[in-house]
Amino acid sequence: MINFKNWFTHYLEDNALEGELFPKFYWNPYLVGIGLGLVLLATFVIMGRGLGASGALSTVVSVVVDEVAPEHAQNNEFYKGYLGDGTESPLKDWLVFEVLGVFFGGFISGAIAGRNKIMIEKGPRISNKKRLLYAFVGGTLMGFGAKMARGCTSGQGLTGGAMLSVGGWAFMIMVFVGAYATAYFVRRQWI
């Protein structure tokens, strides 16, 4: 039996590092940016498309809705778009496989650096329960917003941004506007 806990440096009971930031242990952001840019460029050259993330979540949601209420899902244009014509599993999707890769890629990098840790990310002035509530609410807004804009920070921001897409740039600017406008009200969560 594999002990999954060994893959993480610290466990939940060890919250000694809670509320501390260690940006200096990460790579130089410009270097990371060039790396990500080259990954994005490779995706354009190899696939003729860009990166994405929220699309994979949409596929999962559509599959779940289709399992629970097939008729309801088939009558909804939004879900149907992710379910396809039924000849192949909707999960056999480019973005689903890409996000699976992201999952493992992040894990590998974190494992090499010893940064894999079971913990809750938050500032020192907020309880775990409240932070998780915020995480859920923030996630809900993100899911809704990403679907409205037909893409998230990866699909619209990075991909649309690099293609100089008008919608992509409008989207990206508004992400920063929205986040900066809200930051003050949730500051106790982070600082």
Binding site: P23, Y30, L41, I46, E77, S109, Y134, A135, G143, S165
Partner: protein, 199 residues
């Protein structure tokens, strides 16, 4: 023209899924290297203490943009075959605003939450559950919002086309903006660091 390779039939759909996984591996690796698995570090962007979200995103966009331009210029890559989203300007603006609000409240965006989950962040798991709930709410409300979502349709349009100016010139302006932006945030970060060490 020889690229995009997939569009020229170099490999089939099955292989494209393997490609997707490998590209995802590299994507996730760099995200974690940059500290994007940490919600707290991501949120620091919006309190001016650590501007890495801006630095990484703008560097990545600029790098890919320059790459596309040169590969197309030497006749290797056909830009017109690259798929990206149509512009629906109102939905893009409002969606971006909502996502931005969700970003600072939740601490992640969809891609970074995947890295957060795999590196053990419990809040990233909860965030993703929220994300799926948000998509579900969107899906249920979709029939009601359809008219709004499809308004402001501008098609596949990029900034050079919109302003009717040369692609290379826009590229040059974006690079200048990036350099100016990086100078500004480096200066701002130093200022914030000084302020903190004094208090």
């Amino acid at each position: 023209m020889t690229a995009p390779l997939y569009k020229f039939g170099l490999f089939n759909d099955e292989v494209s899924l393997i490609v997707a996984f490998v590209i995802g591996l590299a994507f996730g690796f760099f995200l974690e290297r940059g500290g994007f698995g940490s919600g707290r570090l991501l949120a620091a962007q919006f309190y001016f203490t650590d501007m890495r979200v801006f630095k990484v995103m703008f560097t990545a966009i600029t790098t890919a943009m320059i790459g596309i331009f040169y590969l197309s210029w030497i006749g290797f890559l056909d830009i017109s075959l690259i798929y990206y989203g149509n512009t629906f300007i109102y939905a893009d603006i409002l969606g971006g605003l909502i996502l931005g609000i969700g970003f600072v409240i939740g601490g992640y965006c969809p891609g970074t939450s995947a890295v957060g989950i795999s590196t053990g962040r419990i809040d990233a798991i909860v965030y993703s559950l929220g994300g799926m709930f948000g998509i579900f709410v969107f899906g249920e409300a979709y029939p009601l919002m359809k008219d709004f979502l499809n308004s402001g349709f501008m098609g596949l349009i990029n900034i050079p086309q919109l302003l009717d100016i040369n692609y290379g010139f826009v590229l040059f302006i974006v690079i200048l903006m990036a350099i100016a932006g990086f100078t500004l945030v480096e200066w701002g970060e130093n200022l914030m660091a000084k302020k903190r060490s004094e208090s």
